[in-house]
C-alpha cells in the first residue's frame, strides 16, 4: 500500500506503517494522525517527539514505563500514566503513537 502527500509517494505496509522510516516528516505525521482520527495537539507532539528521540538513540521503541515516566517528568506527575497516553492515543502508545511517529510496527507477539 502507499499514499501520496505533496507529490511524494510513501510506501506503507498493510496497516499503514511507513516502510521507509527515513521518509517521516511532521507533515507525514499529520497525515497519518488524520488517518487514525487523532487530532494532533501540543500534548500529542510531546509523545511523538519523545518516541522519535528515543528511537533515534536506541533504534527501538521505549518500554511503556519509560515513556510514561518521561512524560510525567516533563508534563507533571498526573500525566505520567497509561491512562493519559490512551486519552491522547486511544489506539495505544505502542500501536498508534508509534505509527504516527514513523516507528516500526511492533512485530513481536509481545
Amino acid at each position: 500500500m502507499s499514499f501520496e502527500l505533496n507529490g511524494a509517494t510513501y510506501e506503507t505496509d498493510e496497516d499503514g506503517y511507513l516502510l521507509n522510516l527515513d521518509q517521516w516528516s511532521k507533515e507525514v505525521a499529520d497525515y497519518l494522525a488524520a488517518e487514525e482520527d487523532v487530532e494532533m495537539t501540543e500534548a500529542h507532539w510531546e509523545v511523538i517527539n519523545f518516541l522519535r528521540e528515543y528511537y533515534e538513540e536506541y533504534k527501538i521503541a521505549p518500554m511503556i514505563r519509560i515513556l510514561t515516566k518521561a512524560i510525567g517528568k516533563k508534563l507533571g506527575k498526573e500525566k505520567g500514566n497509561t491512562k493519559y497516553l490512551y486519552e491522547l492515543y486511544p489506539g495505544g502508545p505502542a500501536k498508534q503513537a508509534c505509527k504516527i511517529a514513523g516507528l516500526p510496527k511492533p512485530t513481536g507477539c509481545v
Binding site: D15, I64, T82, A94
Partner: protein, 506 residues
C-alpha cells in the same frame, strides 16, 4: 499490496520435496502421509532418528492401514449451495481424515458452520494447505480497540488472494466468569453477538483462561468489541500486561477448596483492570488461583504468581470414617497408598486409626484425596503465595517458589495485604527488570535475597529446600567499613556502587 516483506514469503519458503500441492488431491495423493514421511526421512538413513522411526513403525503401519480404509465424506458435494461457487471449490482432502474416529471432530463442526459462514470454509481450506505443505500461513499484526492496548490477537492470511474472507481473521480474548461456570443465557448472548459480527468460532477456553472468539476482520473486531462491552463483557489481556486470571472451581463445587478462588480472582481482575488492558509491565504477568495443593488451575508452572489454598494447625480426622475405609479397602491398601506416600512420613495407621504429625504435614493433599471422607483439611485456612513460574522461553521452564508461606485471604482487609504485596512487586520488577523479562527470570538474575529486599519481605526458611552450599557470600553486615565508613548498603541490584567496590578491591 506493495512491499511488505511477509507478503513475499510463501514463494520464498523452502521447497517441500515433491509434495503435491495441486487442488483436489486424488486418493493416492491424499493418502501419502506415511510414505511421504519415509521419503522425507530417507536421506537420514544413517541417523538414529530413523532407527527411532522404525522402532515405532509396526504401530504406525497398523494405524495407517486402519485409516486408509476409513471412508471419507466428500465434502465438496456438501458444500454445494453453501454460498461458495463451484469454481471456487475448497480442497479439504487432507483434513477430511480428521472427521472420522470416536473423538469429536472440530473439522466436522466447522464444516457445518461453513455452510452459512464462507470464511470458515476458507479457513479449512487454508488449514488443509498447511497440512499438505506442513507450513503455516498466518502472519501476526497488531490491532487495538480504542482505549485498550491488548485483547485482540490479530492475524492476516498469507493466502488472502485465494481465501479473501480470511484475509483478516482475528481473535478477541474475553474475560470469562471466574471458574468458567456459565448460565446458558450468558453463553447464548455471547454466541449471538459473535455470530452477528464474525465467522462464529468460539474456543472454550484459551489456555490462559480467556474465552477466545475467532474470526472477525479489522472493522468487525471493533463492532463486536463495542457490542460485547455494551453487554458488560470485557476484553482479556495480552502483551506485556496483567493477563486474564484463571482459577479452579473452588468453593462453588469442591469440598477441598480452602480459599474462595472465584471471589479472589474477580477481586484481582477488577482491582487491576487497567494493568490488564493497558500494557505497562516489562512483560506478561499471570495469576492463577487454586483452592488447594491439587492445583486444578495449573498455577504452579503456568503463572507468575500462584495462589494456593492451604491451612494451619491440625488436619480434621473422622476416625469412624477411617475405620470404615480400612474395613472396606484393607489395611494394606491404606499403608501402600496413603501412609507410605506421605512426602514427610508424618501420617501413620494404628489400630484402624489415623494419626498425623501436624507439625510436619506439608499440606500436600494426598492422604485427603484418597480418604476424602475420613480426612479433611484443618479449619484455619489461607493461602501460600508463590512467585516466578513460566513456560519455556527463554531460560527454560521455571517452577514457582514460595514467597509468602501463609496468608489469610478471608476478608477484604486480607486481600488488601495481598494487593499491597503485588504492587510492591510490580514496582520493583517494573523498575529494574529488562524488557521481556518475566518476574521468574528477573529473580534468577538478581537473586531471591535481593528480590526480597526489593519488595520488602523478610527471608523465611519455607522459601527454600536447603540453604546454600556455595561458600562465596557477601555478608553485608560483616563487611569492613571500606565504603566511606558505611557498612550496610542496599542490595546489589539497586546500588551500582557495590559493583565498583568489587572491582577496585579485586
Amino acid at each position: 499490496m506493495g512491499g511488505g516483506f511477509r507478503r513475499v514469503y510463501p514463494e520464498n519458503r523452502p521447497d517441500h520435496g515433491g509434495i503435491n500441492k495441486d487442488e483436489g488431491l486424488g486418493e493416492s495423493g491424499a493418502r501419502r502421509p506415511h510414505v511421504a514421511s519415509l521419503q522425507q526421512f530417507g536421506g537420514l538413513l544413517e541417523s538414529k532418528r530413523v532407527y527411532l522411526h522404525l522402532l515405532v513403525n509396526p504401530y504406525s503401519c497398523a494405524i495407517n492401514f486402519a485409516f486408509r480404509y476409513i471412508k471419507r465424506i466428500g465434502w465438496q458435494n456438501q458444500m454445494k449451495g453453501s454460498g461458495m461457487s463451484s469454481e471456487n471449490k475448497i480442497n479439504t482432502s487432507m483434513i477430511d481424515d480428521l472427521e472420522s474416529g470416536p473423538w469429536p471432530s472440530f473439522v466436522k463442526d466447522l464444516k457445518s458452520l461453513a455452510t452459512k459462514k464462507p470464511a470458515v470454509g476458507q479457513l479449512l481450506g487454508q488449514l488443509n494447505q498447511s497440512y499438505e505443505d506442513r507450513w503455516n500461513y498466518w502472519q501476526g499484526t497488531v490491532l487495538n480497540v480504542d482505549g485498550y492496548g491488548g485483547g485482540v490477537i490479530a492475524r492476516y492470511s498469507e493466502l488472502a488472494e485465494k481465501y479473501p474472507d480470511i484475509a483478516q481473521f482475528h481473535t478477541i480474548r474475553i474475560i470469562p466468569p471466574a471458574g468458567w461456570v456459565y448460565s446458558t443465557a450468558t453463553l447464548r448472548e455471547l454466541c449471538d453477538i459473535w455470530e452477528k459480527h464474525s465467522a462464529g468460532i468460539i474456543q472454550l477456553h484459551g489456555m490462559t483462561g480467556d474465552i477466545l472468539l475467532l474470526g472477525s476482520d479489522n472493522k468487525s473486531t471493533f463492532d463486536a468489541a463495542e457490542e460485547l462491552m455494551e453487554h458488560g463483557w470485557d476484553l482479556g489481556g495480552s502483551g506485556a500486561a496483567l493477563r486474564t486470571l484463571a482459577c479452579c472451581v473452588g468453593q462453588a463445587r469442591c469440598e477441598m477448596a480452602l480459599i474462595d478462588t472465584m471471589a479472589i480472582q474477580t477481586h484481582i481482575t477488577n482491582t487491576y483492570i487497567s494493568e490488564l488492558h493497558r500494557p505497562e509491565f516489562p512483560y506478561k504477568y499471570k495469576f492463577k488461583i487454586s483452592g488447594c495443593a491439587n492445583d486444578c488451575a495449573c498455577a504452579m508452572q503456568r503463572s507468575d504468581m500462584p495462589i494456593i489454598g492451604t491451612w494451619r494447625g491440625p488436619m480434621q480426622i473422622d476416625q469412624a470414617e477411617v475405620g470404615k475405609f480400612v474395613d472396606g479397602h484393607g489395611a494394606d491398601f491404606v499403608i501402600d497408598n496413603v501412609i507410605t506416600r506421605c512426602p514427610t512420613n508424618c501420617i501413620s495407621l494404628k489400630d484402624n486409626q489415623i494419626e498425623v504429625d501436624d507439625d510436619n504435614c506439608v499440606r500436600c493433599m494426598h492422604c485427603i484425596n484418597v480418604m476424602h471422607k475420613a480426612l479433611k483439611p484443618g479449619k484455619d485456612r489461607g493461602a501460600t503465595i508463590l512467585i516466578g513460574g513460566k513456560r519455556t522461553l527463554k531460560i527454560g521452564d521455571t517452577m514457582s517458589s514460595v514467597l509468602v508461606p501463609f496468608m489469610k485471604l478471608q476478608t477484604e482487609e486480607d486481600w488488601e495485604k495481598l494487593t499491597d504485596l503485588v504492587e510492591r512487586i510490580w514496582e520493583f520488577w517494573g523498575e529494574h527488570a529488562l524488557e521481556h523479562e518475566r518476574v521468574g527470570e528477573f529473580i534468577n538474575r538478581i537473586g531471591l535475597g535481593a528480590f526480597l529486599d526489593g519488595v520488602g519481605l523478610e527471608p523465611h526458611p519455607e522459601m527454600i529446600t536447603a540453604p546454600r552450599s556455595n561458600p562465596y557470600i557477601k555478608f553485608e553486615e560483616l563487611a569492613p567499613g571500606m565504603l566511606e565508613g558505611e557498612s550496610g548498603h542496599d542490595p546489589a541490584v539497586v546500588n551500582e556502587e557495590v559493583e565498583s567496590m568489587e572491582s577496585t578491591n579485586s
